[in-house]
């Protein structure tokens, strides 16, 4: 795989440590993920052995303190990893992003010390994958329309409902889910819980067959009278909405990074293809390459700006939504236009471009569609 021009991805906010970390992840991704990225897409296979490699490197806990088994790095480093892995194998990239941003982060940010010891440490050490059960068949963009119910019975909560489109849902060890304690209260009746997936009544129903990201798992999950100890309530009762909104704020940066990585992968492939052919003097080819590079550079600034703010402990609702919205749309345009240059060859799966296109469409949908991002941004500026 052809390396990209360093001027495209070296931002002034990167420290020497960040640059070293980027090289390390890039080398790993190119050496160990490139070949399998084609295979797992074709065979629709979850690359368990690759996820184990990420675990060995400590990358399933990049932005969390060492005392919980994390790597003790910052958000920027984590975002670098998602971008670099996404550039080669987006299926592995989204598995990593969902684990860290959605599975681990809410427990780290809102969990008690006991919860962190019991649930976060195994996740960060990579002994199991974490997952986030928010979306339901009837609660997609309207995530507050949660139908899954939680009922308190003595020292337990009894949880019943169906979750859908849950990344790594059927293979996760620990799941953070939302459930309503009182539907009449709307979003203010929702609580968040930690569920051990060995709990009786928890059952994966099916894994989706998808357009792209076919090496990642997207599950429909059934919870039938799952009895979980009351200590597994995450945060305060009925604070679930706040928790998941904040979780998504951060998660969006990682989806933006995934989109960015895919776009960069497409551009790198294209530059290599064009320089090896007689196309580089064609002006329409030059225009495509120039537009892709410019949009990718702009998207990168937005993504790492949001990541930096998060590292500074700031809320990134506006910046995260804007970064994700822009990067995912840039990535769609980039992959779509790149294929035009390769012609029919680019439609064949021997080249990664057609996979990049299929993979990156999800970035305009997952963790809030582009429409939802626009609403989030507008509300930040206009008020509700």
């Amino acid at each position: 795989m052809k390396s990209s021009d360093p001027r495209l991805h070296n931002l002034s906010e990167f420290s020497p440590h960040h640059l070293r970390f980027r090289s390390e992840v890039r080398e790993f991704a190119e050496e160990e993920l490139f070949d399998s990225s084609f295979e797992i897409d074709r065979e629709e296979r979850f690359p368990e052995e690759k996820i184990r490699r990420l675990a060995q490197k400590g990358w399933l806990g990049i932005p969390f303190p060492e005392k919980y088994g994390g790597l003790g790095l910052d958000t920027i480093s984590y975002i670098i990893a998602v971008e670099e892995i996404g550039r080669v194998c987006a299926s592995t990239g989204i598995t990593l992003a969902a684990h860290i941003s959605l599975g681990c982060y809410p427990i780290y940010a809102h969990g008690t010390e006991d919860q962190k010891k019991k649930y976060l440490i195994p996740l960060l050490k990579g002994e199991q994958l974490g997952s986030f059960g928010l979306t339901e068949p009837n609660a997609g963009s309207d995530a507050g329309a949660t139908e899954t119910t939680a009922r308190k019975e003595g020292d337990f909560y009894i949880i019943t409902g169906t979750k859908r489109f849950i990344t790594s849902g059927s293979i996760a060890g620990t799941l953070v889910i939302t459930a309503t304690e009182d539907r009449s209260l709307g979003v203010h009746g929702i609580s968040a819980f930690i569920i051990d997936t060995k709990t009786e009544g928890f059952k994966p129903i099916k894994d989706e067959t998808k357009l792209g990201l076919r090496g990642s798992i997207t599950s429909e999950l059934s919870l039938e009278e799952c009895r979980i100890p009351k200590e597994n309530l995450l945060g305060r009762p009925r604070e679930g909405f706040k928790i998941f909104m904040e979780t998504l704020d951060g998660g969006r940066i990682s989806i933006g990074a995934l989109a960015l990585g895919i776009a960069q992968g497409a551009l790198d492939f294209l530059i290599d293809y064009v320089t090896k052919s007689n196309l580089k003097k064609r002006q329409w080819v030059q225009k495509t390459v120039a537009d892709l590079a410019t949009e990718i550079m702009a998207a990168r600034h937005l993504i790492y700006h949001a990541a930096k703010l998060k590292d500074e402990g700031k809320r990134v609702t506006l910046e995260g939504a804007a970064a994700k919205l822009f990067a995912s749309e840039v990535s769609m345009r980039a992959t779509r236009r790149a294929i035009q240059i390769t012609g029919c060859e680019g439609l064949v799966s021997r080249f990664p471009l057609e996979r990049f296109l299929r993979d990156t469409k999800l970035n305009e949908i997952g963790e809030g569609t582009s429409e939802i991002q626009r609403i989030v941004i507008a509300r930040q500026l206009l008020g509700r």
Partner: protein, 333 residues
């Protein structure tokens, strides 16, 4: 002509709803178009649609062909593409070559051509040699290779099926020819009408896909409720639907008008280039909106949106890539 087109559309439409739509997902999974469905197309005369009457065909022009393709593509764009290939490049080459037996077999649905358009580096030195990465119907009984200068009819090809973004039941293959005897050859300039018809047909197939996108997306947006109301009531969803509807309407008018001019031989190649590049480009945008309106569901193979998305993208590239066509348009300006 209008009534003949209406009748043809009705026949194809029935075939689409009864025999194609229920099966099409399986065809793609299995990687081939079943011979039964090809036989059904043959029964209603589709493989002889544009073959001149003196060669045993029906002798219709582009107007009828685009209507058939548009209707058929609502069920299976692969099948429509297969039909288009036979009715344009294959039919033309067989007719020029006066291959009456092959023409008869084609019309009867017993023998079909495969082929490729503008593969790089075809060389004729005694026999024909060359290779390419995108051969349509690699399982064909004979092959048409359209080169930049000359086009060839040959009997055999070494083909290897490849995995592709779309049309996975069209047996798209990479191929090699090594010093293969040429059955017939002609200058590519002489078959440029057939190439134009092929490009116009690709637009008609995109249009058929676009119609499906519009109808499915509208129904979904009317039924899917979020925030207490059908999502069709939200402006951002409406805006996408409006763009899809505008695309379908303009494409319909453009394809029809260009086909009619083609039949009257009152057109210049720019009309074809504008039609193909405009329609396929806009339909790809429509398909992207279609998946978007369906959200997570649109990303799964439970719904056909993801297939329309893949097919629309492929049509932007196939035949002659849209940017190349835009260069041609620019030349003529």
């Amino acid at each position: 002509m209008e009534s003949e087109i209406g009748l043809l559309r009705k026949n194809i439409s029935r075939l689409v709803s009864d025999e194609i739509k229920p099966e099409v997902k399986e065809w793609e999974k299995g990687g081939r178009l079943p011979s039964e469905i090809l036989a059904r197309l043959s029964e209603i005369g589709l493989f002889g649609l544009t073959i001149p009457e003196e060669h045993g065909g029906i002798g219709y022009g582009a107007e009828v062909l685009v209507a058939a393709l548009d209707e058929l593509a609502r069920g299976s764009a692969s099948l429509a593409l297969f039909l288009l290939f036979q009715n344009s490049l294959v039919g033309e080459m067989l007719t020029l070559a006066k291959e009456e037996d092959l023409i008869a077999a084609l019309i009867e649905g017993k023998s079909f051509g495969g082929g490729a358009i503008f593969p790089e580096g075809l060389k004729e030195e005694g026999g024909l040699s060359g290779e390419g990465s995108f051969l349509i119907n690699g399982a064909g009984d004979f092959f048409v290779l359209v080169g930049k200068e000359k086009s060839y009819l040959i009997d055999t090809i070494e083909s290897t099926p490849v995995a592709t973004l779309a049309f996975r039941d069209l047996q798209i293959s990479s191929f090699v020819v090594r010093d293969v005897p040429v059955r017939f050859s002609t200058s590519t300039d002489r078959i440029k009408d057939a190439i134009d018809l092929y490009l116009l047909g690709l637009s008609a197939i995109a249009l058929g896909i676009g119609r499906e996108i519009l109808s499915e997306a509208k129904t979904y947006a009317q039924n899917r409720k979020q925030f207490g109301r059908p999502i069709i009531e939200f402006w951002m969803v409406q805006d996408m639907l409006v763009e899809i509807a505008t695309t379908v309407k303009t494409s319909e008018l453009l394809v029809k008008e260009t086909a009619s001019r083609y039949d009257k031989k009152d057109y210049d190649p720019t009309d074809i280039a504008i039609t193909k590049s405009f329609v396929t480009n806009r339909i790809m945008t429509a398909a992207t909106h279609g998946v978007q309106i369906f959200g997570g569901y649109g990303y799964t193979t439970d719904y056909p949106m993801e297939r329309y998305f893949r097919e629309a993208k492929a049509l932007e590239v196939m035949g002659i890539v849209n940017e190349e066509l835009r260069s041609q348009i620019a030349q003529s300006l």
